[in-house]
């Protein structure tokens, strides 16, 4: 069953097409890596998917619906984007309490997710004083606040130290073991190779390859395949 579907998605900024006719499906209950060089259009595709950017044409749907049509979306989809939606001068806890209130989620759940991402110690610290990795954990805490079945993560490993990356790996595994669908973009190919079930590779807004990681890699490593595929397209 497909959880997420991009259908001929086009997003144009001026003359430049950031996403150019992207069609792809993400299977439910699997981890899908969303890969591509800098500027390939990953973040843009994900923004269209969650309704923050309006597609120029085509569509990006979750559970066959526009994000905007989802009932209380936080309980169905958790999102981490490259821009974090948190107020710098509020504590991590208060930031999450604001989000929780609007989704009808209790404050005790806020403390629960802070514990899950190991931020309890820093919960009362202002967000602007967080390290990069702590901010990333806070974003992840926000994504799982509503205990959603689908996670959309744009470079969640960004800024994490080795211990943080190991932690994130465990975190994603645990989420996957609960049967969640995860769409995760990353540049850490070695890490992705060990984590994901499927991959989607795009370059210059266009789909280059998609399928199970085994099929896409063939011989060698994910990095080999990635470089071969993205170079060939240039």
């Amino acid at each position: 069953m497909s959880a997420i579907r991009f259908d001929s998605l086009v997003k144009q900024y001026g003359k430049q097409a950031a996403v150019n006719n992207l069609s792809a499906t993400i299977q439910a209950g699997r981890i899908t890596g969303f890969l591509g060089p800098n500027g390939a259009g990953k973040s843009t595709s994900l923004r269209c998917l969650v309704g923050l950017a309006k597609p120029t044409s085509g569509s990006a749907k979750i559970l066959d619906r526009d994000y905007r049509e989802l009932e209380n979306p936080l309980t169905q989809v958790g999102t981490v984007l490259d821009s974090r939606g948190f107020h710098p001068s509020l504590s991590g806890r208060k930031n999450l309490q604001i989000v929780a209130a609007s989704a009808g989620i209790s404050d005790s759940r806020v403390d629960e997710v802070l514990e899950l991402v190991e931020l309890t110690q820093a919960a009362k610290k202002r967000m602007k004083n967080y390290s990069l990795g702590m901010k990333q954990r806070l974003s992840l805490a926000g994504a799982i606040l509503g205990n959603p079945q689908i996670l959309i993560l744009d470079e969640p490993a960004n800024g994490l130290d080795p211990a943080g990356i190991a932690w994130l790996r465990k975190f994603l595994r645990a989420m996957a073991d609960q049967g969640k669908t995860i769409l995760v973009s990353s540049h850490q190919l070695a890490e992705m190779q060990n984590t994901v079930d499927d991959v989607i590779i795009i370059n210059r807004g266009q789909l280059i390859a998609s399928g199970s990681i085994k099929d896409v890699i063939g011989e060698g490593t994910l990095e080999d395949a990635f470089l071969r595929l993205t170079e060939g397209a240039n």
Binding site: R47, V50, G51, L52, A53, K54, Y67, R68, L70, P73, L74, T79, L81, S83, R84, G85, F86, H87, P88, S89, L90, K94, N95, Q97, I98, V99, A101, S102, A103, G104, G142
Partner: protein
């Protein structure tokens, strides 16, 4: 909807800058009430207006300064909306509630409550400050009968309306600094200029409307400013709300449709 109102309410209370606005509004209005008797008593200014501290009109005018914090109600509204774009919290806000019109409605409601409370507090404290200061003037006259009640009503209504207008401005102009500076420049420079150039239309311009609204039942020509040409308070309030509605409508139809990054 109730959940969104609760969330907006939390934003209002959690963000310290909002408390700063409340303090600033209280300080400015209390100060302007507290110094007025001294200016009147100094003779020259009072004589210029033909008013002395022993006249009811002068005392009324003194207390009327208690609503001077209204500009902070607009700034509060602007910051509630434009601040979301400034700090990027708009992303979290609209991920949680992707139907933007409903979010805006909740925000407008909370801005109205916030502006109302801000004005009630700052005006209330100012009236008390004025009362205390006037105790020191033995020949001070009594204020007119319903002055305190009418001033508080004017404060409440103006606070709510201006909070709403602030949000509408912040939706249209996402740059918080630009929105605030723009609102101030408009109110204190452009609007008076238009008023000077075309006096007849003045009563329909925001400043004229705000003044008219603030002067609910406490305006009197002998106070030195002639508000006889202004619209009745209720009409002014409605016209101003009309402006707010038009702004909010334009905002929903244009700015709120734009991408959020």
């Amino acid at each position: 909807m109730l959940a969104l109102v609760k969330s907006e309410w939390r934003k209002l209370l959690f963000v310290r800058a909002n408390w700063g606005l409340l303090i600033a509004a209280t300080f400015i209005s209390a100060l302007s009430v507290a110094v007025a008797p001294f200016i009147l008593d100094a003779g020259e200014a009072g004589a210029l207006l033909g008013l002395g501290i022993d006249q009811t009109a002068a005392i009324d005018a003194t207390y009327a300064n208690g609503i001077s914090g209204y500009i902070f109600a607009i700034i509060l509204g602007i910051m509630m909306m434009a601040g979301e774009f400034r700090h990027g919290t708009a992303v979290a806000t609209f991920l949680t509630a992707p139907r933007r019109g409903i979010v805006l409605t909740a925000k407008l409601a909370v801005a109205a409550i916030g502006g109302l409370l801000m004005m009630l507090i700052s005006t209330g404290i100012s009236l008390i400050a004025g009362y205390v200061v006037l105790l020191g003037f033995e020949d001070a006259a009594q204020p007119s009968e319903n002055l305190f009640v009418n001033t508080m009503i004017a404060a409440a209504i103006s606070g709510a309306v201006l909070g709403v207008i602030g949000v509408a401005i912040g939706t249209l102009i996402r740059n918080q600094m630009l929105a605030i500076v723009g609102a101030l420049v408009y109110l204190f420079v452009v609007d008076p200029l238009l008023l000077a150039l075309w006096p007849d239309t003045g009563q329909f311009l925001p400043s004229g409307l705000i003044t008219a609204m603030l002067s609910i039942d406490i305006s009197a020509p002998e106070l030195g400013f002639d508000t006889t040409d202004y619209l009745p308070a209720l009409t002014a309030t409605l016209v101003l709300l009309g402006y707010g509605a038009v702004f909010a409508f334009i905002a929903i139809a244009t700015s709120l449709r734009r991408d959020i990054d």
